[in-house]
Structure formats: C-alpha cells, structure tokens
Symmetry: C2
Amino acid sequence: MTRITVDISMSLDGFVAGPDPSLDDPLGKRGMELHEWAFRLAAWRSAHGMDGGETGPDSDLVAEHVASYGAVVMGRRMYSGGEGGWDADPNARGWWGDDPPFHVPVFVLTSHPRERLDMDGGTTFHFVTDGIDTALDRAVEAAGGRDVHVAGGAGAVQQVLNAGRLDELTVHVAPVLLGSGTRLFDGIDGDRVKLEPVPMPASPVVTHLRYRAIR
Amino acid sequence: MTRITVDISMSLDGFVAGPDPSLDDPLGKRGMELHEWAFRLAAWRSAHGMDGGETGPDSDLVAEHVASYGAVVMGRRMYSGGEGGWDADPNARGWWGDDPPFHVPVFVLTSHPRERLDMDGGTTFHFVTDGIDTALDRAVEAAGGRDVHVAGGAGAVQQVLNAGRLDELTVHVAPVLLGSGTRLFDGIDGDRVKLEPVPMPASPVVTHLRYRAIR
C-alpha cells in the first residue's frame, strides 16, 4: 500500500535551508552543512552515481529510503530555484543535469503549466498546476504501490501536513544552528496532525526522528 | 567544574510554549503536551513532592538532571508570567507556591530591581538587572561546583547561546506540532555556537537530543 512520506534534513533550529539562497548557492548560507551527514555515506553516493563511502546504520537508512518510493512530489523552488513563467527560468530543466537521481516520476508543484519533461535514467518531470491534492493523487497512481516521497521544500511539506495526507515523517536533525533561513515547520495546523514516534537507530553525527501520522 | 546547561522540552515544530499564554494557562494552548512525557515519571514526581510514577531510562535522565545543578537562571516571564514593575505583578512570588521545586539559588533576569526572596525548601530567588553575563557569573559562584541550569524561557536560552556561554544543551522533542507559540530557537547567532551531538537513550514517547558546545 502506498504511503505518503517526507524524509528531510533540518538544522537544530528548524531550518531546511540557510539565508540568501541563489542559483549559485541553492541551499543558502551554510545550508550544505545540513546534508554533510549524508554525503559521506555509501548509499547516498551510490544514489548519486558515485562509488565508495561509509556503510552502517546511517547508510542503511538512506538506502531504505531510496528504495522506498515510486514517485516524488516537490515544490517549484526545489525543482529549479525559480519562480514565474518557465521561459524566464534559467534552471528550467532542474538542478540535476540530464540524469536526475530520482529515476521515477516527479510531480512539481507550480502555477505555470508546462508539458512533461523526460530525462535520462527514468526520471520524468510532471508539472502540476492544480494543487497539492492533485499532485499527491497523481503521484500515488504513478508510484506502482511503492511510496510517494514529498522531497521538499518546506512549503510543499507544510501543504502535505496541513492537507492531512502525510503518513510518515522523517527528520534528520543536523547538529547545526543556522540562525535564519527557511523554516521546515511554519504555520502547521497542529490540530490536524497527530504523530506517533517510531524508534530509530542512533548516529554520532545526526539525530534521526521518525513519526507515523495517526488518523 | 561548573557547566552551564539547558534542559528543555520543545515541540517538533520548535515551540516551548503554545499560543496565548496567560496566568491561568502559563504554557499557552496545548503547551502542557510538551511535558506529558515527564509528568508520569518517578523522578519528575519525586522532584515535585509526589510519590509513584514510572521508572526507566526517561526517569533516570530526569533524576540525573535534577541532581546536576546547584543554581538556576531563568527569565522574568518564566518566573511570574508578568512584566513591568513588581508591585503590579499578581504573581510576584512566582508560580510555585511557598516551596518551589528548585531547592537552590535561582537568578531571575529582570529590568526591575528587587530584594532577594527566600522561600521554603532552600530556594532563594535573586533578581538580576544587569544582564545575562552577570546572572550566569553569580549563578556559577552560587552553584558550589555543580552545574548552572538555564531553565528558560526561550529568550533566556537564546541569550545564553548568543553569549557563547552554553556548555551543554538538552532538548526533549515531544511528538507534537503546535503550529504557533514561543519558538526556542529564534535569532541564534549560528556562527557563535558549534555543537557536537552526545548519544542519548531512546524513548518511545519523546526524543532526547543532547549537544556539547565546542569552543
């Protein structure tokens, strides 16, 4: 049965990106530090076409996540960093080059209609202009029984939470204080979302939090 | 050697109190949910003069914390919920009645001078009008080699972090989304504070995060 999941790295002070994100620095000032725990892992490197890296519980967690989903939902800014019409977006084919690391259908939330975009390696980008519920419905249909992963950014995660459609939330808390940036949890409808903690393996470099939504 | 520590409960979305705190509801809407993990524990009950409760790793953690400090620092709002001059504060003797659960000197940050207040059970309240560094210095001196615990609220914790004086930070993340309220981490100077995670026991009802500050 398809679940709708989020798996995201956050600073201890609640940010998923640092201040002043740009095309040259998409995660904002010090935002890369949120992901350092993952970059060195065998499973992360493998998912991004690289050899080597550390094995162990953290890598197993990443491998399990990568294997879990059959479709992805993401916001426009996570896709390209842009806004407005696609003709004026210098990054209109996304951040990841010709062979993005998803290898499944990806549904991009946008106000600007666009034809689907087929990339190498099985990634197809679909541009959804009628809101989070439609994006989730299409992704569930495309996922072939595997999970739908809501990749980010913060706005997309907030929409899924507030729509009451999240099944599982994983937050990797990096031991970093950014001070400002993009908050993951902002304007959550707390009465809408009830969470139950799921036990997670300990790590010396990051804290994995996982919750199941209770309906 | 005296360390300066913080040990505080926070919602997953980063709040240490819910919206609309008042004298009748000091933790704000749903704020009590942040502390439910602790209320049922033997060590918490014992520290508040009650029998019974659950034993186990969570209770051991609370017991260890209660035994660790020889002085406390807190903000004015945590002390009484009030502001302005003391004559107009209906809660000027604090929230805790005649025998507060601290049993050590407590240094209250305030702009309004006042004589020390001796309570039953060894708690003495000292009112510090010249800022966080003075409050910490006086608390370190009073702690007799034990730790200084910065109890809250969020503003006091932020001041200690930004003063670069925190030694250990423990955050108990409750599986709760409040949506709004008082954020623990707001305006932290991230370049000032470097953290190293400390392994913590797992719990089915709360996630314990602990960090040592690196200087």
